[in-house]
Amino acid sequence: MQRRAGHTIMTQLRAKAPLDKYVLWVVLVLSAVGTLAVYSAIGFLAEVRAGGDTELFLMRHILRVVLALAALVIFSMTDYHVLARWARVALLGSLALLVLVRIFGVSFGGATRAFHLGPLSVQPSDLAKVALVLYVSVLLVRKQHYIQSFRRAVMPVLFWVLITVVLIGLEDVSTAALLLVAVVVVCYVGRIRVVHLGGLTLTCAALALLMLVSSPPRAARLEAYVGKDLFAATDSAEVLSDQTEGYQARQARIAFAMGGLTGRGPGKSVQRDFLPAPYNDFIFAIIGEEYGMLGSLALLGLFATLMLRGYLRIARHAPDPLGLFLATSFTTIITLYGFVHAGVSVGLLPVTGLPLPLVSYGGTSMIAAGVMIGILLNISKQIRR
């Protein structure tokens, strides 16, 4: 009853609070820069897959950007409280998809992650990401009164988180890890006891180590990053050679170095021929090469703006706990993706295939980012003065 009343007040206030223009601009600039960079970087893929028809891939990317912006508009106009009611269904649906993709999915770059629907490939993990965060926020709100209780509050949250994270993590450890960090953050904000969170984190760390040991290529990537032979099962000579992960990290660093202060100029990247999946995993390196140190700093600035607005403006002034939790977790996910992607490109983190949100060429992740920002904007519109 109370919530319903609050809801009507919000609806009345909606007209007065404008949506957050900073975040909107960040999104628009990122999509524009992304389109330019992807156009430059996609040539190699286009040559292999479509006989050099780069424009075809550009059109696909623009289609995705348009879809993402459409999603952004739709979700920014949909009250997030309404979404909250569908959170459980959405999570169950995407978990089902995650199971299905393991059976019918398309193998892509060694991992089975996607369905093909016409020109779009759908990655259920991107959907599950949004759904899980949504549902966890709802749970946290519902269990605030007894949040300190492990059995009554923590167990249900833990249940859904573990199922989703493990299902995603089977194929894509880095996405699962990032999602887990976001969940831990929102749980922390949601006042779950630190002891419980620590336990959760340790459990997952143990799981992650298990996965690492069970999969030699994965371990190899880590070794390449560390530069040492850590695991007996891997062949580190091969790992550290020029053609593998260490090679990719080095090529990305070369891209930044070649870019200098102001870059080679739009479309003049050379390193795109040497980096694997430059349009996705290494788009930040391409931007660093074409637009230089200044370009990469500006891009990081955009993500920093998103982070500051997300946390300090939207989450902090959110009208209710649900808004706070949602804003916190979506801001965390997008910012974390951005920083981890950048960290990989500059060689600070081991090589993972994470896209740069709103910039990289990749269907569902782009749309998922649109959805998340849309919800964020909707929250910003409901801010109490």
């Binding site: 660093r253 170095a257 050379v270 021929d273 982070m307 920083f339 950048a342």
Partner: protein, 645 residues
């Protein structure tokens, strides 16, 4: 929430720090590595220069060669591999299985050389739709006249790098400077055209114009071969030089080899023995002692010398003449080649005097002819002379010389006492025929042109040497109406430091005696019919001199002036009936004139030329705008058409 914010901000800081580190600390190294891995270039081959004789006849040219290569990784090849393999087999005539075998055994993933193809097959390759085919165009060296002048020309290796002779000596000029085109390379090694890349056009090699003449060279080789055969000698060498300039007129050795296929004959046939072999000159070396004695005024040509019964005991070593001559004037000591008379005259000289004259004639040092492998012979310093060295050397022992050194010494006598530096390259020209360098204008080595004796000495000595041919040991060198001066030489060969059974027989001389145009030496190694230069070498000299008259107008004029009744019909036709080298396609190419091909399409032009049995190199696409050789000129082995759309 602030904890999270702080952690994320920290991460951002780390990223920015790492960026700065990449730029400021690792930047240089990373940039260099980046540049290294993308840079690539194609070498644009320069065409090796031709070698032509003094009349412009092409002795060495390049013929285009096409090699077919394949990139089996080229997109689209794998899909219809069997089909393409069958097409390749039809075009080339190779068995599909052997092509497959080559592809399978390739060492590079993206390149395999399949083999050489003909120009016709090249045209077929151009029209086929098999992807990944690469035609590598290069040149092979063709020696138009086979063994003719082989030792002068030398040969090249598989890569077209000079290995011997002029090909080696002038390699730097013949090679030209290859051009290059800068390309970009991606991580799979595929090359992409770099629009902004530098293109450096190749500079083709220079054409080398020789002092020798094909006709004269051919005559010399024919007569030397005949002489070697008649004397049943092991080998023979002959050189002719213009004594006034040092220009080599011809140079030959028997046995010879075919530079088109040097490996077809054993390595000893490759040696240009005229400059690489040392011999004891024997009597022909008496020139040195005689010059010293006359030049220093120790004797005169008319001074009577007692040669006694033809023996002379010098510190226990007994010296013999072939015949006893008794009391004869000094001129006859030379004419009759008296060892005793020469030794007695030499005793009037000091060791240093004989040594310095020998040195001055060029013995013991290179002549600096522009050919590789020349040796300097051996002229012992006086400190290492024994008591008998003075007299031994005066008659041509205890000294090692090359045939060329000996020839140049007599050329100095012919030239009024002035020694010249011998050379075989008269000019270097660029591809368009512009003269870049001319031997006549170039300063010779300072130390290789010098006065060996007074002109008066040369004049005084001359009658003694004309006497050698007129009434002395070399009567067989006589040519009717032509005054020839010369000297025979016969010496036992030194093998491993001891005199063996073999002899070397030499005749060296020049003509016309009063106004010498030609100096020539003929050396026979281990002749078996006779050991005397006057018997085995002089006839070769005579026959060459006779047959050369038609090619030397100035000699012919003097001949007519000196003997009006002489009928030139005997000698002149001989020059014209020279058979030019066994493999010579000379009739075809020398007599055929180039048609005007301007405006024709590549296909038509190629057809016109193919009908005449000529192959052609095409530059560019479209219609012919320029041709080499020009219309009306005699066609060459190498025809270049420049095309433009």
């Amino acid at each position: 929430m602030y904890v999270v914010l702080t952690l994320l901000a920290l991460m951002l800081l780390l990223i920015v720090g790492q960026l700065a580190w990449i730029h400021l600390v690792d930047g240089e190294e990373l940039r260099n590595a980046g540049l290294r891995q993308v840079r690539s270039q194609i070498v644009l081959a320069a065409e090796r220069g031709a070698i032509v004789d003094q009349a412009g006849r092409a002795l060495v040219v390049n013929t285009p060669r096409y090699d077919l290569a394949l990139d089996p990784m080229f997109p689209g090849f794998e899909e219809r591999r069997a089909d393409y393999m069958a097409q390749l087999a039809i075009i080339t005539g190779w068995r599909p299985s052997s092509i497959e075998e080559r592809v399978k055994r390739r060492s590079s993933p993206q390149y395999v050389r399949l083999g050489e193809i003909t120009p016709a097959q090249h045209a077929a390759v151009d029209t086929t739709d098999v992807p990944g085919l690469i035609v590598v165009e290069s040149f092979t060296r063709q020696y138009n006249y086979g063994t003719t002048a082989a030792h002068l020309l030398g040969h090249v290796d598989r890569d077209g790098v000079g290995q011997a002779g002029l090909e080696l000596e002038y390699d730097g000029f013949l090679q030209g400077i290859p051009g290059r085109r800068a390309l970009l390379r991606d991580r799979r090694g595929y090359r992409r055209v770099d629009a902004a890349g530098i293109v450096v056009e190749p500079i083709d090699g220079q054409t080398i114009v020789l002092t020798i003449d094909l006709i004269r060279q051919t005559i010399l080789e024919e007569e030397l071969a005949r002489g070697v055969q008649e004397a049943r000698a092991r080998r023979g060498s002959a050189i002719a030089v213009d004594p006034r300039t040092g220009a080599i007129l011809a140079m030959a050795n028997i046995p010879s080899f075919d530079p088109n296929n040097p490996l077809g004959t054993p390595p000893h046939t490759w040696r240009n023995t005229a400059i690489t072999d040392r011999l004891e000159p024997g009597s022909s070396f008496k020139l040195v002692g005689a010059t010293a004695a006359i030049d220093l005024g120790r004797t005169s040509m008319d001074r009577i010398i007692d040669t006694g019964n033809g023996t002379l005991n010098i510190f226990g070593h007994v010296m013999h003449d072939v015949h006893a001559h008794g009391e004869i004037p000094f001129r006859d000591v030379i004419t009759m080649s008296s060892n005793v008379g020469m030794a007695k005259t030499a005793q009037r000289l000091s060791q240093g005097e004989l040594y310095s004259y020998a040195r001055s004639f060029g013995f013991g040092q290179k002549t600096w002819i522009d050919l590789p492998g020349e040796v300097s012979g051996l002229l012992k310093k006086t400190t290492r002379w024994s008591k008998i060295t003075l007299t031994s050397m005066a008659i041509g022992y205890e000294v090692d010389v090359t045939p060329l050194q000996l020839l140049m010494a007599y050329a100095a006598l012919a030239n009024g006492g002035l020694l010249r530096q011998p050379y075989v390259v008269a000019e270097r020209r660029d591809m368009t025929g512009r003269v870049l360098w001319r031997a006549a204008d170039a300063p010779a080595r300072q130390d290789s042109v010098r006065r060996v004796m007074d002109e008066a000495t040369a004049r005084a000595l001359l009658p003694a040497f004309t006497g050698v041919v007129g009434r002395g040991t070399a009567k067989r060198a006589q040519v009717r109406g032509l005054a020839i001066a010369g000297k025979t030489g016969t010496a036992r060969k030194v093998i491993a430091g001891r005199y063996g059974g073999g002899y070397r027989a030499t005749f060296v001389g020049f003509y016309p005696a009063e106004n010498p145009q030609v100096a020539m030496i003929v050396v026979m190694d281990e002749p078996r019919t006779s050991i005397y230069g006057g018997v085995v070498s002089a006839p070769v000299f005579k026959r060459v001199a006779e047959r050369w008259i038609g090619t030397l107008p100035q000699v012919a004029e003097q001949l007519i002036a000196g003997d009006p009744e002489l009928d030139l019909a005997d000698s002149a036709p001989a020059a014209q009936t020279v058979r030019l080298g066994a493999s010579a396609p000379v009739q075809d190419t020398q007599t055929m004139l180039m048609p005007d091909l301007t405006g024709l399409s590549a296909r038509d032009a190629r057809q016109v030329l193919r009908r005449r049995g000529l192959s052609v190199r095409l530059d560019g696409h479209g219609a012919v705008i320029r041709q080499y050789p020009a219309p009306g000129d005699s066609s060459k082995q190498e025809i270049v058409l420049t095309l433009q759309r």
